[in-house]
């Protein structure tokens, strides 16, 4: 296996390129600190649709089409769409792909779907099975609440550890490393963004059963993936300009920093979390954001744009997922956590 490093990491020697990205967020996210990085902010979370599910599906479709437009590719050039969300039977993704008439693979990795689709998309391109791949994921506060927690109008008090599912969608277009379509903004050639490594995480279950403690349930999985990624690649944390976990939230972020500190890995200067970034503390989301769309929109919005502008050279995205089902908590099962890492750089060939 020439393209494998260590136990869990794979290398992409052909350097798949991210040629276009788009992020769409809901009204509440649009009032948060990351607002200026998003491509589109909905005025109304229904997005003109009758149900929340339809709205989420439309949001994902819009994100994918806008990313396609930005990449300068045509729909016919796309080989496969890889996409996922949080709903039963991947409703948003399947219904989004229904109208596209492009080969489609639905993925479920809970909130880790963005990294999962990026990894699999890069594998398809690196293995020369495709030249252009669309990847995306979405989540919606109202659909996720309905599915995993309580009806929206149900009166209750959320505990301080609860996280707010972000209404957001992110999409990217991956392309084989063919040169010749460099974009220019503000008189400068923008940097090209390549996917170099990926670390596939394993499920870590710490036995947490409280579905309002997602950050704590997922943090050990994120830490495990970070440790494995660094040991497989032989890199130090400061090799990266930013190490970004998906949706650990404020509590999970502190736990991850503390756990890494315990094994003498100081990440404080480079580490951040999408869930902690997307909302302001004043927005009353308690422990920050969560959901597939959280890491997808922050990555496709903030990180990707910063990389194109040359402000960030090396980034490590670790999307974290809590792989619980709607019935597993009722059967007394604990929450299995997972995290996949994708290393992205602007220093290509």
């Amino acid at each position: 296996m020439k393209n494998k490093l260590g136990k869990q990491t794979i290398i992409f020697p052909k350097l798949p390129r991210i040629v276009g990205a788009c992020s769409i967020v809901g009204e509440k996210e649009g009032k948060g600190p990351m607002a200026k990085w998003f491509d589109m902010i909905l005025e109304d979370d229904t997005f003109g649709e009758k149900t929340w599910e339809k709205s989420e599906s439309k949001m994902l479709k819009q994100a994918i089409l806008m990313a396609l437009q930005k990449s300068g590719r045509d729909k016919n050039e796309i080989d496969t769409v890889l996409s996922g969300d949080l709903l039963n039977q991947l409703m948003s993704s399947s219904f989004m792909a229904r109208d596209l008439s492009i080969p489609f693979l639905g993925l479920y990795g809970a909130c880790s779907t963005m990294a999962e689709s990026l990894i699999l998309g890069s594998v398809l391109i690196d293995g020369e099975y495709a030249s252009n791949i669309m990847v995306g994921s979405s989540s919606h506060y109202c659909t996720a609440e309905r599915q995993f927690r309580m009806p929206l109008e149900h009166g209750n008090q959320r505990p301080p550890s609860a996280q707010w599912t972000a209404t957001a969608a992110g999409a990217m277009i991956l392309s084989a490393n063919d040169k010749g379509d460099h974009a220019v903004t503000e008189g400068q050639v923008v940097k090209e963004v390549y996917v170099t490594h990926a670390t596939i995480g394993k499920i870590i279950d710490t036995g947490i059963k409280d579905s309002n403690q997602m950050g704590a349930a997922m943090a050990p999985a994120a830490v495990d993936t970070i440790i494995n990624h660094l040991s497989d690649t032989g890199r130090k944390p400061d090799y990266y300009d930013i190490i970004l976990t998906g949706d650990l939230g404020l509590i999970g972020k502190d736990i991850a920093i503390d756990l890494l500190d315990g094994i003498q890995l100081d990440v404080k200067n480079v580490y951040d979390d999408c869930g902690a970034m997307i909302f302001d503390k004043k927005q009353d989301t308690h422990s920050g954001g969560s959901g597939c769309g959280c890491s997808a929109s922050v990555f496709a919005g903030y990180i990707y744009k910063q990389m194109r502008a040359g402000k960030i050279k090396n980034a490590l995205l670790i999307s974290t997922g809590a792989l619980l089902s709607t019935i597993s908590p009722q059967q007394g099962e604990s929450i299995p956590g997972i995290a996949h890492a994708v290393a992205i750089t602007t220093e290509g060939k």
């Binding site: 009758k50 149900t51 009806p151 109008e153 009166g155 209750n156 008090q157 710490t206 509590i251």
Partner: protein
């Protein structure tokens, strides 16, 4: 032998879970129990005073105690349902917690909330969305904590 091994593994797992939960606790902020209790006490108290006032009113009108009690229950349930329909109840419950959840209003809410969920934005709520009520609702969602005076003028 095998069973013993399994049991030991299970115990070990439980121990690690307990240890981790304890570790997590130091990162988790505690809810403000005192303020929550105070809010629940006052809001719950106001509801009870109102209910008692209504009961006395009906008894003055000639109903006996049992009938008056029944009427009050119906009024409480109906107003909680109405507030749930307007999308106000969840903000109120967020503010006052057990103060509105423990009385029969909480029961009414937990019946109506799932029903709305599956009829969301069909006829009634689509109407509400476009009327001035949505303005009130919007104002409500924006104001933290929700203002009680307005609540009573609506109901």
């Amino acid at each position: 032998m095998e069973n013993q091994q399994k049991k030991e593994n299970k115990d070990q797992k439980k121990k690690t879970t307990k240890k981790y939960e304890k570790y997590v606790k130091q990162f988790t902020p505690k809810p403000n129990y005192f303020m929550n209790c105070l809010k629940a006490f006052f809001v719950g108290g106001i509801i009870c005073i109102g209910a008692l006032y209504l009961q006395n009113y009906f008894m003055d009108k000639g109903f006996d105690e049992k009938e008056a009690g029944g009427l009050v229950t119906v009024i409480l349930v109906c107003s909680a349902q109405l507030l749930t329909g307007f999308g106000v109840f969840d903000s109120l419950a967020k503010f006052s917690g057990a103060g509105v959840i423990v009385p029969i209003t909480g029961f009414a809410n937990s019946m109506v909330a799932p029903a709305i969920e599956f009829k969301k934005r069909d006829r009634f709520l689509a109407l509400v969305q476009n009327s001035s009520v949505s303005q009130v609702r919007f104002w409500f969602a924006e104001s933290q904590p929700p203002r009680l005076s307005v609540l009573f003028t609506i109901s």
